[in-house]
Symmetry: C2
Subunit: 529 residues, 2 copies
């Protein structure tokens, strides 16, 4: 424990939330309180007896407030070794300070407001970080609090230990203090770079958890959480099953992004970061049935995500406790924002199934980061589905009128790795579903072929001219030649969505007309690599 | 310019490289030099007159060196506003200090040596950052130098401006100073986290360059450089052509990683992050011819990388100035570590072709970072090809004896997106090449089918039983069932490499024996997503 009695505290805060209460408690513990400027006024108003910092420094406050605390006396009081240096301190009339409560001038807020450089410079705190770093360095004897959120814990320590503070608490607050000053100078550094026209970026992650292994078992892996984000994939709650692997995390992200921001109940089945099954409708059970339809072979060993509370009747579709084991649908991970009564129990029947909770709609998605060797690619996220819906071929306006289906098709193809082709359909029951996809191909024609073949197999007995003519083939990028249309027409496809923008668009449109294909241009490409 | 005369300098450095020379120059400019401890001894030995810092602070050096510089006098001398506060400074007997040369206790080096916590704590510099940050805040009048690398520039400034320093220089050094203190506290924070058993990581990137756009034209994108890496993809030299796009950067990385760390001259042709053509041999022209062979359709619009100086006769294979335009091979980017005489001229014939220089063998690859929503995945890189080569089926030992071909096959499949199948071959001319690949499939059987179909088309007239029997089919992960082998055997494949490790390995081996397939297990999976 190594308890240290708090006899003297130095309080100097920019954010004054909750400061009276904690200062009051310190006072009651018999602690002497030293303070500065605004903080001192606030504490005095609250009826506390406060020593002015200038009585300790022996110097006046000077230079418009730039010099308040920095002094031989204050930093010595924080920094000296209570054992080795005790005599020296006495001879130099340095009295120990045991606690610093300090937070810094609001540089970040000013930077966000794009303040003038001179104003920003004025908001760079010098005395604060010096006190914080001095106290943190000497954490063996000194407690440093930089966040009003920690007053509660300090209060508990004081109450439990009769006005003392434990070493565990001091160490933990020391770590927080250095993280705070690191963040503070990171913000100053990137802002000063920005004002000089240089783009720089600093990222910080913590709470690292070792994963079972990396992409392969001979690779190690760790999942970290962004220190400054509110909603993170790292927040997913493990409810059941083995530890997650690196690939599980990647697949869970792909699954959650696929079911994110949709108007209806959706289910996505992911294999190697691609939805191989995906459906969306008013009824969740219909959604999983129709998602499974997309690739019933690849669905084995997949990751499934839902965007609504998972219902028992939906989960039962997996038949995990069917006495006929061949009927059980083996999957790796299930993710959902919530689980209805009985669902976890039911799913837990499968020992290895990992169950995780995270709401896809809470995931921020305004930018993506991608690391390439020794560098970082930042990009704004692909959050727009189309520029404008423009029918460039065909008399039939059914597709152009079904905006929901168009959006579902574009959302699906955007979730696939390029080159990507998605074939989607609105079933007679009103469910939107993926009937077949082709992904990750260097040659678009092969992606088209894969999606068509899969659709044909999936529709099976239904695969007549009528059912295929209801399908919509969606391409993530333009068709450079008409060959894709010719291939699609051979299978009976009558509806095509693509961005357009090829220098050969005229020829492609001409061919669509010849083939009596309804073709829509969206004006937006959706590569994903 | 806003020149400021350096009349008084404070020098206190942990790294004493080159300090005498720059101090000597300052002295010659008539500048008074203040210094501390070891730095002072060194400068005095060099024959310079130096004022001891304690004469300025008015305090003794105290507490085993923890208190040296921090004082009202020193920080006031750095911080006061030379205009507004001039009178106040005079009344407080504060004389300005115009330059600080300071670098910090070597915390990072100690941390790398995994020093004891107490020793690390002792190496947290408090006075240094306070001086650096004070001087940096007051950059309008004060110059702050934190890196011996900048002595040259300071020296130039002093020489050019008659002992003065320009505001541009002061601002630029101020940015460097805050980046330095941010890095310093970042290192302390992550180290203190580590000692408490918490994994945290802080990353910093600068030199951000806006790219044409992101993965798609409606997305913005920036490429940053890792501040702390020696070799970065961001260092690639643009020699010719349009600005690079986000996708170009991703493809260039994939291309360079594909040709990295190979014993012979290699050429890789990349489309959507996958090598669709790849070959390796003693002759570079043979390499490009055989790489092109892998997918002559997809190679159009691709990215090509070489691992050796690009020779003119290799480049001429592209026929960029062939009067018959249909013979010209249009590609997007060429990357190589160097270009022989005449090559750039030749390639520049194609106006839009981007030519970039970077040596793939200089790229570090010990870990990969991957960003997922609000979190970060760290993993050690997949730098091992196999655990052990074990022939589990077949009498013919030709393949097992050709370690070079095995390694080429594994290196190729490791460069493809999962599920991946690569079919490779050693040509009669001794070149190792990719004859066909299947990539990015949720279902391994489809990847196998794609690779086989491509191989059959590529071998064309050569596609007889003999030529196909020389090919080797490599799988990035084990075959869960024997169906892949049956399919391969139908095409005449006689050699297979896979990691093994399925619960059905016995059945798969039995099938390989039945089909008279030579099969090798490697013990290592190579997923890449």
């Amino acid at each position: 424990m190594n308890l240290i009695k708090i006899k003297r505290a130095l309080i100097s805060v920019s954010d004054k939330t909750g400061i009276e209460a904690i200062a009051g408690q310190l006072h009651e513990c018999g602690c002497e309180i030293i303070s500065t400027g605004g903080t001192k006024s606030k504490l005095t108003e609250a009826g506390l007896q406060v020593v002015d910092i200038q009585q300790i420094t022996g110097n006046p406050e000077a230079f418009g407030g730039r010099m308040k605390t920095i002094s031989f006396q204050v930093e010595s009081a924080l920094l000296f070794d209570r054992e080795k240096d005790a005599e020296e301190a006495e001879s130099l009339h340095v009295q120990p300070i045991d606690l610093v409560i300090c937070n810094l001038y609001p540089f970040a807020e000013k930077a966000k407001l794009q303040a003038q450089l001179a104003e920003l410079i004025e908001n760079i705190d010098i005395g604060g970080p010096t006190m914080i770093r001095s106290a943190a360095k000497n954490y063996k004897w000194v407690t440093i609090i930089t966040d009003p959120e920690d007053y509660g814990q300090l209060s508990k320590e004081l109450a439990e230990h009769n006005g003392c503070v434990s070493e565990e608490f001091r160490y933990s607050m020391m770590r927080k203090a250095f993280n705070h000053t690191a963040d503070y100078d990171a913000m100053i550094a990137t802002t000063m770079d920005e004002y000089a026209g240089e783009k720089s970026i600093r990222l910080s992650y913590n709470q690292g958890k070792e994963l079972r292994y990396g992409e392969n078992s001979h690779q190690k892996a760790v999942l970290y959480r962004d220190q400054h984000t509110i909603d993170s994939l790292a927040d997913l709650e493990y409810l059941h099953g083995k530890q997650l692997s690196y690939n599980n995390i990647l697949d869970i992200e792909a699954a959650l992004l696929t079911v994110r921001a949709l108007p209806h109940s959706a289910a996505a089945i992911i294999k190697h970061l691609n939805p191989c099954g995906f459906a969306c409708g008013k009824d969740q059970k219909e959604a999983i049935i129709n998602a499974w339809f997309g690739d019933p072979i690849s669905a084995f060993g997949s990751i499934i995500a839902f965007n609504r509370e998972l219902q028992l009747e939906t989960a039962e579709f997996l038949q995990l406790n069917n006495p006929d084991k061949s009927q059980r649908k083996f999957i790796e991970v299930i993710a959902a924002p919530a689980f209805a009564a009985g669902v976890i129990d039911y799913l837990s029947f499968h020992e290895n199934l990992r169950i995780v909770r995270l709401d896809p709609d809470r995931l921020q998605r305004d930018h993506d980061l991608r690391f390439v060797q020794g560098s970082l690619l930042w990009q704004s996220s692909d959050n727009k589905l189309f520029d404008a819906i423009k029918q460039v071929s065909g008399e039939n306006k059914t597709l152009a009128d079904d905006l929901e289906l168009i959006e579902f098709g574009l959302h699906t193809v955007r979730s696939l790795k390029s080159n990507a082709i998605a074939i989607v359909q609105r079933t007679k029951g009103g469910v939107l579903r993926l009937t077949g996809m082709g992904t990750g191909q260097p040659n678009r024609l092969i992606a088209t072929q894969l999606a068509l073949d899969k659709t044909l197999v999936n529709l099976g007995n239904e695969a007549n001219a009528e059912s295929i003519s209801e399908c919509v083939l969606v391409s993530d990028a333009y068709f450079p030649f008409a060959d894709n249309l010719e291939l699609a027409a051979e299978y009976g496809i009558r509806n095509v969505i693509q961005p357009g923008g090829s220098i050969r668009d005229k020829k492609v449109i001409k061919k669509a007309k010849e083939l009596r294909i309804n073709m829509i241009f969206t004006g937006l490409r959706h590569f994903r690599h």
